[in-house]
């Protein structure tokens, strides 16, 4: 009896130890599996970011790069110089304006299109295929395409404006005007980004159970009531992800600016991306370019963090 009890206790103990050991083994195995990816992540993402941040505090020119010499600590001179020139403030406001307007309009248009395509209108499937074309086109090509559309005086836009105004407006150069250039890029960005967001929102919309919508309809809920109280709340996670993606995408936007305005006219479209490129690859001041990139990264993290907090708060 005693020996039997001891055996059971031993078995339990061993079992516990085994279970514990198994857990430990699983954790260890998971860690081992993750290790290669983590090493790569640290080597190719974390270290370059840290290196860039360190570089932003140094004087680092092309000679440093080619001779493999470390930069010289310069007591925040890159940041001070950028701030005193007004370039940092200007880039911040232009970037925030571009991101804010583009994300808001992309969401509004995409949601509208998704709602339209969700109504099973004739040709919806065909429309869905066609509207993916802008998303498939590489951004640089899209930029060139829009630069031809906007070209003055031979572009399509100029032709249409001239036609509709009966030749009264013959010199409309949207990208040449300080007040309209950013809007020209926003239109191109919308054209490029709306298709993907529409598709993502549509798939989120189609995952909502039909019976809930039917029940609301039977209970007398109108279209907008169903939209606001059922559709949108059900799509919260999809909306959060797609809008976050859109914010990040537009913060990073460089090809459209490079191909359409290159930051002009008179700096009206000089975002962080353009400023960073100019500092690093036009003036070959890599330290200054890294300073812009650091501020840019921080701002992007702050905006995405605030956005996610707002969504989380609403969820609560």
């Amino acid at each position: 009896m005693h020996s039997s009890k001891t055996k059971i206790a031993d078995t339990h103990r061993l079992g516990f130890l085994n279970l514990h050991s198994k857990k430990q083994q699983d954790i260890l195995f998971c860690a081992v599996l993750l290790l290669p990816a983590m090493i790569l992540c640290v080597a190719f993402i974390i270290i370059p970011i840290i290196d860039s941040v360190i570089m932003s505090f140094t004087t680092y020119k092309i000679g440093n790069l080619t001779n493999n010499q470390p930069g010289e600590w310069n007591n925040f001179a890159n940041y001070i110089r950028l701030w005193n020139s007004g370039k940092l403030q200007s880039a911040t406001s232009i970037t925030v304006a571009f991101v804010g307007i583009t994300v808001a309009l992309t969401f509004v248009f995409s949601m509208t299109l998704a709602l339209l395509l969700n109504t099973k209108i004739v040709g919806a499937r065909f429309l869905r295929s066609i509207m993916m074309i802008p998303w498939v086109i590489p951004t640089v090509i899209a930029g060139l395409l829009w630069s031809w559309i906007y070209a003055n005086p031979y572009g399509l836009l100029q032709y249409l404006i001239s036609m509709f105004t009966h030749g009264q407006v013959n010199n409309f150069a949207i990208l040449s005007n300080q007040d309209t250039a950013l809007w020209g890029i926003i239109v191109a960005a919308l054209w490029k980004q709306i298709p993907l967001m529409t598709l993502l929102l549509l798939s989120g919309m189609q995952s909502i159970p039909d019976d809930i919508l039917e029940a609301a309809k039977i209970d007398g809920a109108g279209y907008f009531t169903r939209l606001i109280h059922i559709l949108i709340p059900y799509m919260r996670s999809v909306i959060a992800v797609t809008v976050s993606m859109c914010i990040i995408e537009n913060f990073k936007q460089y090809p459209l600016f490079a191909t359409l305005t290159n930051g002009g006219p008179t700096g009206a479209t000089t975002t962080f991306a353009v400023l960073s490129y100019d500092e690093a690859f036009v003036n070959y001041n890599y330290g200054s370019g890294a300073a812009v990139t650091t501020v840019w990264l921080l701002l992007m993290i702050i905006v995405v963090f605030i956005f996610n907090r707002i969504f989380k708060k609403d969820d609560a």
Binding site: L33, L34, P36, N67, S85, N262, P265, T266
Partner: protein, 452 residues
């Protein structure tokens, strides 16, 4: 076993992603290594004939349709004439030369020879990419370059390039359009007031003609080529942008202040009256000129290459003129000299140096350049050995300005400083800034680049 397999797969997957970024350093360094080990006891062509030498030649002109064929043929003919020398061409984008060099050098590739522009020199010298041509080119041949062209290659007290050919600022004129308006190229104005009279007469004549988009085109787009172009106009008005010692000239002091104010006023006159469009690039004017939509515009002589792409028969209606010799209060129509040039890689073996020397001399020969200078990239010769080379008759009008060229010292941020001039012009002509404010803003921004 399963776990081991999973681990191996995860590792292979992760590291295969990193391996995708590998480079081809090994393959290309071989040719350089072989040439590096070459003996140095022989001279000139004979040395090259005895050994296999590979030169990696970075040439942005290869991406331009009009020039690519000429370069390919020239390189082929050179290689046929110089057995054992292999020119490995690398076509690079004009705007990303430096990044390409940096990346290629980091990948173990060599940059042996570059075909480029003068304003690249500061960055290339700072980066240690190029060496002085006097260390590579035969002294007798080197001494044959015209001083007023060679001087522009000075940076930090030394010459860092040799010109292929050069140009002054040229007014391209559609002689058919001009003559139809009752004007004669024989009486092309030599004063700014005379030029304005021509512009106004042409505008009056073509005011109802929708096919004419530009009466007198000046580029104002914020790109490097525009910066050089505006600087040339400012120089023609008697201004100096960069002092001999490489510092920023004082634009608030005379005669620079008057020159800058008159330059800005001239742009305002052109843009405000619709004689030119704001924010146009040179390539826009070249295309429109080739299409017969532009009466006159200011460019470098080699801009004709793109005009000729639009209309192969453009020579029939194209004429040129020099800038007026009287421009504003102090301006004498001086023109900044511009060149396309050979820049020589820093780390060459002796055999490679000899091959570069041969190639540069081959490309600076009358028989090699005759066709190019007449039909493709119109320009003037920069070496006395080509004094007999026939220049395109299209440049007959512009040749008067050759005696009036000046050079500008090179400084590291020259591209940005010049480009800022375009912003200044737009601030004054379009954005409603006063001349004083526009100039003050220019000084602030130029200082920003110079003091980096």
């Amino acid at each position: 076993m399963k776990k081991l397999l999973a681990f191996v797969l995860a590792t292979v997957l992760a590291f295969s992603m990193a391996a995708c970024g590998g480079n081809s350093a090994a393959s290309t360094s071989t040719s350089t290594a072989s040439s590096t080990s070459a003996s140095t006891g022989t001279e000139g062509a004979s040395a090259a004939e005895q050994e296999n030498v590979t030169l990696r030649f970075y040439n942005y002109a290869l991406s331009e349709t009009a020039k690519a064929d000429w370069w390919e043929n020239t390189i082929k003919n050179f290689e046929a004439e110089n057995t054992g020398i292999d020119i490995e061409t690398v076509t690079v984008d004009y705007n990303s030369m430096i990044s390409t060099f940096t990346n290629d050098l980091a990948s173990g590739l060599s940059v042996d020879m570059i075909y480029g522009e003068v304003n690249w020199i500061p960055a290339l010298v700072e980066g240690g990419f190029i060496q002085r041509p006097s260390q590579v080119i035969d002294p007798d041949f080197y001494n044959g370059y015209y001083d007023y062209v060679l001087n522009q290659f000075q940076y930090d007290g030394a010459v860092y390039g040799v010109p292929h050919y050069y140009t002054n600022s040229v007014i391209f004129v559609n002689k058919d359009l001009v003559e139809a308006a009752g004007l004669s190229m024989d009486q092309f104005p030599t004063t700014l007031d005379g030029l304005k009279q021509w512009i106004e007469q042409l505008n009056e004549y073509y005011k109802n003609d929708d096919s004419i988009s530009t009466i007198f085109g000046l580029t104002t787009a914020e790109v490097p080529a525009t910066g050089s172009n505006i600087n040339a106009i400012y120089t023609a008005f008697g201004g100096t942008l960069i002092n001999e010692d490489g510092t920023l000239a004082d634009i608030t002091a005379e005669p620079n202040k008057t020159a800058m104010t008159e330059t800005l006023d001239f742009y305002k006159y052109l843009i405000g009256n619709g004689y030119t469009q704001e924010n146009q690039k040179l390539k826009d004017y070249r295309a429109a000129f080739g299409a017969g939509n532009v009466c006159m515009y200011v460019d470098s002589s080699w801009g004709y290459a793109q005009i000729g792409e639009v209309d192969p028969n453009a020579a029939n209606f194209t004429a040129t003129a020099a800038l007026p010799t009287s421009m504003g209060t102090n301006g004498k129509g001086s023109s900044l000299v511009e060149s396309h040039c050979f820049l020589i890689g820093a780390d060459l073996s002796d055999a490679q140096k000899k091959a570069v020397n041969l190639f540069v001399q081959y490309c600076t020969r009358t028989d090699t350049m005759q066709e190019y200078l007449n039909k493709i990239g119109l320009a003037f010769v920069a070496h006395e050995g080509m004094a007999d080379c026939q220049i395109s008759p299209i440049l007959d009008g512009a040749v008067k300005g050759v005696d009036n060229v000046v050079y500008q010292p090179q400084i590291a941020p020259i591209i940005s400083v010049q480009q800022q001039l375009a912003t200044t012009v737009l601030n004054y002509t379009v954005n409603g800034m006063s001349a004083d404010d526009a100039i003050a803003d220019y000084i602030k921004q130029a200082d920003y680049y110079i003091n980096q």
